[in-house]
Symmetry: C2
Subunit: 213 residues, 2 copies
């Protein structure tokens, strides 16, 4: 089932470079982490170090430096939200990642609205299309960053971004991608390339056909 | 610094839906995890649950179910690679996620080439534009999935995908995005939306201008 015979010829011309270790994951997400301070003041920060951590229980991890206000807020409240900005909020997402909540109220400064989650002690960014509501379940100190693993206990989404299966649809959410340090730029999602798990179905059909013949 | 005054009007018309917890991160990456079995046989699997875990030391996490062959391979070898397929390898990436390495040699079946990493005991997928080489440093059992945290000790990349700063460039790598369960489809990267950290520079310039005036 070799899909492209010309590939091997092309590869012979490619030179592999052996490079020092770098934290380059493509694409990296743009996550806005919502927390409350001990005085109940809402804060948000932009994070790219994170991902889904498990299916059952549903968990997500985000890695933060001790220098951030959000790190200390999560340690205290044991809760956070992961908000996904749509591309029309690019400037807001970029701004939120560049200033500290110690110096100013980022919500007020940028004109976004904190709404208390019904399930966890953390604010949701009302204007963003959807958010995951998380209870802190594990902390893993790795060095400069501590990984905060949160159990996702609920999700809040704008009705207009949902698929018929009531889940946020990427084509309606239009999330932002970060190109990491190789480009240091933000990107939109592009064209649909194909349905997931379609190759398996093609193989199954091929096997069925060969059994019949 | 409210960037879009019309937003607040639009938001009033949006209905927020309160939904059960779901592992929906947009976008999710498409990661091909490379490992060796105890007999030295190379294997690869597709994973979407993962992300950068820390900057110093540089670490990445991938979450795997115990049912997978890769889970047991990593437990034994304490090493893995994270390979990023370009969009022209969509079918291969999809296939690799749908069959078990226990049943067949996925490299042979799909026509990809395992090349031993120079730094860790795991194979790199030669045809893919770049790979992170990882030593296992931590395991976190979360339930159905175990999170394997690897220190990135090196990176191998095709020279043609590198930026002038010698880092993989997203526009040349052309990675695949997975739309998660709301669409269950794959997407390409889209248009460049802007440079990261540009808002801060705009603000700095504005402050400079106001000081001068």
């Amino acid at each position: 089932m070799k899909l492209d015979q010309s590939t091997s010829i092309r590869q012979e011309l490619t030179v592999k470079q052996f490079l020092p270790p770098q934290t380059i994951l493509l694409p990296s997400p743009v996550l806005i982490i919502g927390t409350y301070g001990p005085d109940g003041r809402p804060n948000m920060m932009t994070a790219a170090w994170g991902g889904i951590a498990s299916s059952k229980p549903p968990c997500i991890s985000v890695s933060l430096r001790e220098a951030t206000l959000s790190y200390h807020n999560i340690k205290q409240t044991k809760a956070f939200t992961v908000n996904i900005p749509s591309e029309k909020y690019l400037k807001e997402a970029d701004f939120v990642g560049m200033v500290s909540g110690r110096k100013l109220d980022k919500f007020k400064e940028i004109g976004l609205t904190p709404e208390k989650s019904r399930l966890v002690n953390a604010p949701i960014v009302k204007e963003f299309p959807y958010a995951l509501e998380c209870h802190l379940v594990r902390q893993v100190n790795l060095g400069l960053h501590t990984m905060f693993i949160g159990e996702i206990v609920g999700m809040v989404a704008d009705s207009e971004v949902l698929s018929p299966n009531q889940l946020p649809n990427i084509e309606r959410v239009r999330p932002i991608l970060w190109g990491s340090f190789g480009s240091n730029a933000y990107y939109s999602i592009g064209n649909k390339l194909g349905n997931a798990f379609s190759i398996r179905n093609q193989l199954k059909q091929r096997r069925k056909s060969s059994k019949k013949s």
